[in-house]
Symmetry: C2
Subunit: 374 residues, 2 copies
DNA sequence: TGACGGTATGGTATCGTTTCCACCGATATG
DNA sequence: CATATCGGTGGAAACGATACCATACCGTCA
């Protein structure tokens, strides 16, 4: 871990570098000198040019142009201005769900003249805390994060002492007034389970994948409740974490005494592992077992059979979170921004069932249903 | 476009807020006062604690702890320190190629105590220039970018006047000494074309997709040269830009007088469109036409038939670029960093052919070949 | 004419940190 | 014993931009 490093190199004397390529960027007072005005006037020109006579304005603008002057961010920030950066804390950028989020949030940031700093946690709560601290030290104006653990006491406390607005995404922060934008995971999983039940499947297996995340737990809860309400047996397998484990689990379950006739997978990667395993084992889909997954993915409609999924409005989640953040940022009153009573702070978005072939909807039905919703 | 906004709110008088929850973060001089030392000493403690007596060190550390002091970044930066942020300029975060890049670069940045700011251009050269300027104004320490147009005069000039190190990724900057890390697109496409020729296909069609990007042009050049060298007819189609156009192009070509017996797609999305179209048209792969794509993707090995591809070492490209950037950053001499003669600045990485079923390699052969290389 | 309101402008303290320089005492060196 | 050396320390001047306040000027109204 390197120590802090040297400041700018000494640099040539002012006179020497006057005509040659500059060693350091021009400053506001150099602009002022060149334009024959005071620093105040230049500052005013930069910040909108109000209360400056047209001639002076022009002269200053020319000087700025000639010197290629750009204001020094650090100095402005020091005077209390916003940094025009926001931080994003997510498990991984490579995950398609979060990369789509990042893209959308970046767009919102850009629309608000801000930049986005992305950090990743790999769902490690400690890395998460670290990242938040680092971003705060870098004086970001606001923070969007997908909490690794919704119930972390430490996280909640940290967030509530923050002086900048925070919005949680995909997963809420339990027992706090931190605003959040999440999908309705419970409702989505209810829809999915009911859909499979509606198809007449009798033994619906739920593959949770390995996860303690809030979203997965919600989906699991919904599956269990729905099954029980329908008087059906809850069949769980939590062992699938990669292709191998999927193959092992599915093979043993299918050759067991009471094999499942449908599989509901609770997340993207689990769906893919399960699909891969079923293919490899030459299990007919949906003939022998139907498959329905949570979360859409690019090739879900292309593979044979196409895979039915519950689709989340990812881009919308991210966009709303970004907008909520900037709403808080632009609020005139500096009062603790997260406990204003007026606005609905906890946003929950609808998800959508996309029936395709793998759940037993025929190709044709699936197509019509699809265009129906779209 | 909002104007600049207000500086910090006036804030209560010092005395008043002394005992209550602080309105603004503690400063270095407050720490100094509490520890009964000068600001210089505190500063020294923060920056490594050299030349400070053990007792004083302890006292200062305690004061820092008690006040929860963290140094103000803006002030340090103003004094000439690095911002410990680097900028990344890519076409899109949602693109799997670039999201993997971003992930890897972020990891390198973190390892160097830096943060990553991500901006996207949608391959628009103007947005690219804008983004670079914005990042420079934010005083990033360095820059990594995937140039939209390798031959842009404007871009080259901008980059060469920059005072911070730059590394190009995936695509070089033509006629310049900007360091770059790219895959050997030419060699990759030669391998692919030769592989198809080796299978005995006679009419190999190349689907370029819509692109003027450097990478695609390189691959196209390689395809053409290899075909000509083999005395075979170059078959090009540049019209595929989505699923519909793929279906149209493939249907009309296949029903034409001299239909292709193999397809080589030059990028990820084109491969998927082509595959989708072939499936929909019930064309047998590789029976009627073989398929080989550039760039791997998650389900390429899962779909039936599995799709043969040329795979790029994405993570390695990104990691090397990140490391090259920090190498420059840490170089002691501040001389124009990009034209040091010592190091190889233009890195070109090998790509790898991953034969699967779609090109005609049988499943078994494909498997063995695969594990052979892996 | 004198008081007043408004506009254009500049001087200067300030933000929080680093660093140059000066200082002090103590030990080492001639 | 005088002087260099060195570890430990603090005062105060930067860094670059902003904003409070003061000033100078002009026109207008009573």
């Amino acid at each position: 871990m390197a120590e802090f490093d040297n400041p700018r190199s000494p640099g040539p004397s002012d006179k020497l570098s006057a005509m040659t390529r500059r060693a350091s960027p021009p400053t506001l007072s150099e602009v002022a000198r060149r334009a024959g005005v005071g620093t105040t006037t230049v500052s005013r020109v930069i910040n909108g040019g109000h209360r400056v006579s047209p001639e002076t304005l022009l002269r200053v603008r020319r000087a700025i142009e000639a010197l290629g002057y750009v204001p020094n961010q650090a100095a402005r920030i020091l005077k209390g201005y916003r940094t025009r950066t926001i931080g994003l804390v997510i498990p991984s950028i490579a995950d398609p769900f979060f990369s789509e989020c990042a893209e959308a949030i970046q767009a919102v940031a850009r629309a608000n003249d801000s930049l986005l700093i992305v950090t990743t946690t790999q769902n490690d709560p400690r890395a998460e805390i670290d990242n938040i601290n680092v971003l705060i030290h870098h004086q970001v104006d606001g923070l969007i994060l997908a909490p690794a653990n919704s119930h972390s006491q430490m996280l909640r406390e940290l967030l509530e002492t923050l002086r900048v607005p925070v919005v949680a995404i995909d997963r809420p922060v339990a027992q706090s007034r931190i605003p959040s934008v999440v999908a309705d995971n419970f409702r989505g999983a209810v829809m999915a389970t009911e859909h499979l039940i509606g198809h007449g499947y009798k033994r619906i297996l739920c593959l949770t994948g390995e996860s303690t995340l809030f979203t997965i737990r919600e989906r699991l809860r919904a599956y269990c409740l729905t099954m029980e309400k329908a008087g059906m047996e809850v069949l769980l397998d939590t062992s699938v974490k990669d292709y191998k484990s999927a193959e092992y689990a599915i093979e043993s379950l299918l050759s067991g005494p009471k094999p499942p006739d449908a599989i509901f997978t609770l997340k993207n990667s689990t769906t893919i592992f399960a699909f891969e395993a079923l293919q490899k084992l030459n299990v007919s889909i949906p003939g022998t077992v139907a498959l329905l997954g949570y979360d859409d993915f690019e090739l879900a409609s292309t593979v044979r059979p196409s895979i039915s999924v519950v689709e989340q409005p990812i881009e919308e989640i991210a966009r709303l979170a970004g907008e909520a953040l900037f709403d808080q940022l632009l609020e005139p009153d500096g009062q603790s921004p997260s406990n204003r009573s007026g606005k609905a702070q906890q946003i929950k978005l609808e998800t959508r069932l996309v029936p395709r072939a793998s759940c037993g909807c025929t190709s044709r039905l699936a197509e019509s249903a699809r265009s129906d919703v779209a």
